[in-house]
Amino acid sequence: MNARVIASGVHQSAIHDSAARHVQGSALYIDDMKEPEGLLHGWVILSDRAHARILMLDLSSVEAAEGVVCVMTARDIPGLNDAGPIMKGEVLLADQIVEHEGQAIAIIAARSFAQARDAAKLVRVTYEDLPAYLTIEAALQAERFVVAPLHMQRGDAARAIAEAPHCLSGETSAGGQDHFYLETQIAVATPQENGEMHIFSSTQHPTEVQHIAARLLARPYAAITVEVRRMGGAFGGKESHASLIAGMAALLAARCGEPVKLRLSRDVDMLLTGKRHDTLARFSVGFDDAGRILGLDMMIALRAGHVADLSGPVLTRALCHVDNVYWLPNVKVSGYACKTNTVSNTAFRGFGGPQGMFAIEAVIVRIAERLGLSSEAVRQINHYGPGQDTTPYGQSIGENNTPRLLEELKTAADIARRRGEIAQFNASHPYIKKALVTYAVKFGISFNLPSLNQAGALLHVYTDGSVHLNHGGTEMGQGLYVKVAQIVASCFQIEREHVHISSTRTDKIPNTSATAASSGSDINGMAAKAAADIIKSRMAAIAAAKFGGAADDVVFSGGYVYLGNRSISFPDLAQLCWAERVSLSATGYYRTPDIHFDQASMTGSPFYYFSYGACATEAAIDILTGENRILRVDIIHDTGASLNPAVDIGQIEGGFVQGQGWMTMEELVWDQAGRLRTHAPSTYKIPTSRDVPPIFNTHLLADAPNAKPTIFRSKAIGEPPFTLAISCFLAIQEAVAAAAGWPAALTLCAPATPEAILRALGGGKEGSAFCEQKAAKKLF
């Protein structure tokens, strides 16, 4: 038998499927598509109050404006005014009451984008302001929650804390984060005959867009088709909130009987759609002389915004990640999703996990400060280990790659030598202080809710041997399409150029889950493999009949199909199957095995496996200005047997930098009236090429195939590396400690902006010598 294997299958660093078109500007996003005849352009009129009753809404001037074709409010919705992804009653358009600044109160369709935008300015609204709850603290005090509080418990935390040699209490907080996908939210809805609707939507969740559009239009799901070829970034922001934009476009299109494009301007996008949940955590912890955590009682509160949206599941994942890589023998974690009069926060890479993982680090550094130990020593002594390897929710962590990652990191990052250099530097430099931290993460893979862990794929083999591939996952730049194409190429043993990738559509794969929770390649890859295996078994039977032998002995390899010493090319066999009247089309289906979770008791094994990573991060601060730099980062990440090392390294680098933004510079500011003051890149700063670490080394953990039988033994990659960037905050905090001592450093909260660093240097007050000096001169 010929042992040729294909060169473009799994485990190869295949180039992104659209790369050649992206570099020529010919990969089409929705706004690039040729506009159909008669296309109308949408715009959204937003509330400018945080919480108010609408006394009068006068749209007559809007309706009369040049080019305006229709204006719709809540009363014009033919179906239910409900865009809730999980809970019912989350209105698409405000009806009498507005609950956040930036909430949609009316939608417009006009002949041109400029006409729609100009007409929106003519709206006249009279409001009666109502009391607004703007902060986590205010909502906690008023006990305003969007879902019932969650409690996770193991052992007796209160008793363990009371009996521990040491105990302390503390508090920390982390800010929210705008997704800032470069392509703002967009949809084009086109009415079809018989009341049907086709929607191009920049969405991670075509099925949910389908369901919500159907609900708004009072049509069955089957009457709505949603399609997405690619998104210009998403990061969770286009999971549930894409359906708002698509729903509005569909309503306008149905009303006008014309296709409608709704593309949000950046400002409207940032006002109307949700962000990462900001977080407040409070805790009491009992520990021994070595810093071992004996009991932990923690409260985590998230700012949910005005409705539940995905906040319940986000909170669940936050609670499931408080442990990170640490053994917590007695633990109680309570979670609160606070209802505030701010935009509904939503999914964002990590989905609550980063918030939980951030909170436990505040516990670690406080223990270290109290005992006079290094934070690294306290991290180390609390790591999961043999016999201490069960999470607070009762799942065994299985293979534990943390020790290996940290050991390899020591050499890769040259840690001992650099620590010495940093100590010398800090002793000699008057106003720059540096710090280096090592940090390990563990991230649970699977949707927390077991029923979401399912996927479908559709494969056609044509008689020339080319393959049409479709699955339920969406492409947002993460390389899912190319990974699944590599999987199909490997299954059929044909080069990937023969596998044709097609847009994700609800009429091809029904009832899908969002492309989220890092699960895209795990579940869609398995579904595609299942479809390929079905077709292969049919083709093998035909080959066996032709050559005389058993179908089980047929081998697909290097573009040929072999039985003993006889062979046939893949295209010829496809042609032969057709002639023999055998179907070359199949659907594949996958559901993740062995997972279960009881939401009431917050126990179970919700994750099929865990992904691990470790990094060494060096930061510097300027104690005069508070400015910070991340100087060097070394990462080793566990991707199992990577499906595509280049794509995975890109995910690690990009995820880390996005996390760096969350931890060090991206700051959402609301004023006292609940108005978001940072709704454009002029005031909301994401990392640029000058902000990222100039030395940035990323390695994949070698020879570490997934212990679980995942798709070709790979591991998920989307979210876990984001959490590594918590190390940026930890390194800056240690640098503050080097400058002003640990008590001052413990007052630092995220994001560690220059202002926050200056405040911390002054012990949490606006009290650093530098601040006082500036204040005296009234410089700010």
Partner: protein
């Protein structure tokens, strides 16, 4: 609104059109000429997704009126590849070195990188990072973008040497 005539050269081709005075260059390119490679990201000059090259400068086409480009020589991503479809060294390098993920920033990033390499054919990493800081990418963390630009600089220098030798 009354339209005014405007003429310019785009990717080597003369263009004569009528536009409303308020039409921004990005809308003229995308909607009137169907050159959709330059993207709209923020409409306020911050993100760089709309970057084009205009009379020897990188320009964010979302904050310039079309009429201001009267008589200008403009290059967009559609004009980077050779007439026979051969990719420019920068395009090849961004593709080969995985200098993109979602791709939305890519056309603007390549146009900016092209001007940078015209001004400084052999930039250091730090010079590249400084030179492209006006173009945001939310996906890659910039590592592979910097690598792609460095690689392109080498390819372009090699091509120039070859040309000189011939």
């Amino acid at each position: 609104m009354k339209k005014s005539p405007v003429s310019m050269t785009i990717n080597g081709q003369p263009v004569e059109e009528l536009v409303e005075p308020r039409t921004l260059l990005i809308h003229f390119l995308r909607e009137q000429l169907n050159l959709t490679g330059a993207h709209i990201g923020c409409e306020t000059s911050h993100c760089g997704a709309c970057t084009i090259d205009l009379d020897g400068k990188s320009v964010k086409s979302c904050t310039i009126f079309t009429l201001q480009a009267e008589g200008a020589h403009i290059r967009t991503i559609e004009g980077m590849a050779a007439a026979d479809g051969t990719l420019h060294a920068l395009q090849e390098a961004f593709r080969e070195k995985h200098g993109l993920q979602c791709g939305y920033c890519t056309p603007g990033m390549i146009l900016r990188a092209w001007r940078l390499l015209q001004e400084n054919p052999d930039p250091t990493d730090a010079e590249i990072r400084f030179g492209i800081a006006g173009n945001l990418c939310r996906c890659t963390g910039y590592q592979n973008i910097v690598a792609a630009i460095k690689h392109a600089a080498i390819l372009m220098a090699g091509a120039q040497q070859k040309e000189a030798a011939e």
